[in-house]
Symmetry: C2
Subunit: 324 residues, 2 copies
């Protein structure tokens, strides 16, 4: 078995070796730039880790890992155009550094490049992994569309929100794990247990993200918190606050969020006070624990020795314990 550090080292080396340079430069340079901007490389590491649960030989899973990482980065490239984001990972986004047309077309080519990593797979593995990859790719688009739709939608229910973050975040993590498991020769049952593990860990991760935006200690961790409150983003916290509030509190929160005369610091303070009064922090923590527990149950259901699950178990626990 590889250690998590070894898997990370393998994938970083593979990503460093990637060379998307080609002609026309205007098409390929933004792809090389995007894949080179860093990120935690969580998805490709999960592909390798899942493969390693079932097999000592993880070679076949490397190209699959790269397919998922390149696809993930393609989605960021196109999302940044749609969300009009100027900065990603401390660097200019492609549509700002170049222009919208370049970002659209380079993104298209980057998605095709993601698929390209699958072509080296043996026919039987390709046949199994291709639909997993493809269905997931489509779901990620659905998630991004819901996310954009929700900005204009007056009310978003908790269920709608959970479905959106499942599509936008969880399914790609889940599919990375499932595809890795298939590469490692896992049974269908075990591959699906890992998929479920990924779905629930993804949900826990996103709810933790929502929570930390309001409750992270910004002085300690250097991350500006409260940004979701300032932008009025319909997060798990805000949706539940609207749900739980009496009519007076509901109106107060609604007015507060759209009030442009209040400075940001004060707005965050007042919204947080309402969240506190409604027990939103506790409720969110309960839900994170719920999804974490579901994930662990899926991991426990795998038909392999406990020692094989250690990396994925620590991964799940690290999400629970992250503070920023």
């Amino acid at each position: 078995m590889y250690t998590i550090n070894q898997l990370q080292e393998i994938i970083l080396q593979e990503i460093n070796k990637l060379n998307f340079k080609g002609n026309p430069l205007t098409l390929y340079e933004p792809i090389q730039y995007t894949i080179g901007t860093g990120g935690k490389r969580i998805r490709p590491i999960l592909v390798l880790a899942a493969s390693n649960v079932f097999s000592d030989d993880i070679d076949a899973s490397i190209s699959v890992a790269l397919a998922f990482e390149v696809f993930h980065n393609f989605t960021l490239l196109h999302d940044d155009i749609m969300d009009n984001s100027p900065i990603r990972r401390n660097k200019k986004t492609v549509h700002v550094k170049w222009n919208n047309n370049t970002a659209i077309l380079s993104g298209d080519a980057m998605m095709i490049k993601a698929y390209d990593f699958l072509k080296s797979l043996p026919a039987d593995l390709l046949k199994e992994i291709f639909p997993v990859f493809n269905n997931t790719a489509l779901e990620v688009c659905e998630g991004q569309q819901y996310d954009m739709d929700f900005e204009k939608q007056e009310n978003v229910s908790e269920l709608e929100y959970l479905n959106m973050i499942k599509l936008k975040t969880s399914v790609l993590i889940a599919a990375s794990l499932k595809a890795g498991a298939i590469c490692g020769g896992a049974s269908k049952k075990d591959a699906n247990f890992l998929y479920d593990f990924g779905i629930n860990i993804g949900l826990a991760f996103q709810l933790q993200d929502d929570l930390l935006d309001v409750y992270a200690d910004s002085q300690k961790f250097g991350k500006q918190s409260g940004n979701d409150i300032i932008t009025g983003k319909k997060t798990f916290l805000l949706i539940n606050a609207f749900e739980k509030a009496d009519y007076k509190t509901y109106l107060k929160l609604k007015t507060l969020l759209s009030d442009k005369s209040i400075n940001n610091k004060e707005k965050i303070k007042q919204a947080t006070a309402i969240f506190n009064k409604l027990g939103i922090k506790h409720l969110t923590e309960l839900n994170i624990r719920k999804y974490h527990k579901k994930a662990i149950n899926s991991l426990n259901s795998l038909s392999v020795k406990d020692e094989k699950k250690e990396i994925l178990l620590s991964f799940a626990n690290s999400i629970m314990n992250r503070k920023h």
Copy 2:
């Protein structure tokens, strides 16, 4: 063997059956709209026709035909954003009817839907066709990027132009034929002969397009000609006119194209007169014939009876004889 009308009927029925409806509607409606706007459905018909050259059973090729047609329509959807085109096939383009973000994301989903048609293929066919499809998809992006780059580029050589139209137009026609041939069980050699046939027919088609824009009889065929002259598009005709002109004529043509004080009709008349003086019509016709002949040679090289080639032969000849 099927007749061309029968193949057309089969593909139109299959396209009519397509149902991209799903949630969120904002993602899927533009896909259904785009595939429903019509077009000549040349690529999917060529997939079936190529398959039918080698096999009486063309069932396996139908999903491949749909993959190519949906991919082609995806490229139009994204190209229309980049080219800022308001109308396609007499209907509003997606980015005008909806908005840019919807057009970007629905386009992404549409590309994934194109790949989706390949997943029903048996493992060995998938393994063979997937890289053909993928390489071609990437080349089409390269062609579009060159096309956009050329607008800003002072001089474009004939060679650069031919490479661009090969990537933007020919490779997808060629790959449709090759993939169809593979479905029909063609040998590698025969599949590649059909690929070459497609490349050359694609080039002949595009040069014919350039020619007809200037020399089609607009009264008879109702197609406005001279549009490329008005927009100053670097077509095969214009590139060769610049190449062949003496310095005085070169300057005259250059000045004419950027002169905003001359009305369109007069501009077309004067540019056409220069083309005539330089023998550009004849030169273009010679080149069309050259690529047509190359295509026919590839068709003649196929290891099948002549009667099997009839549909593709008429297709090639129809390109030579089209008048609008």
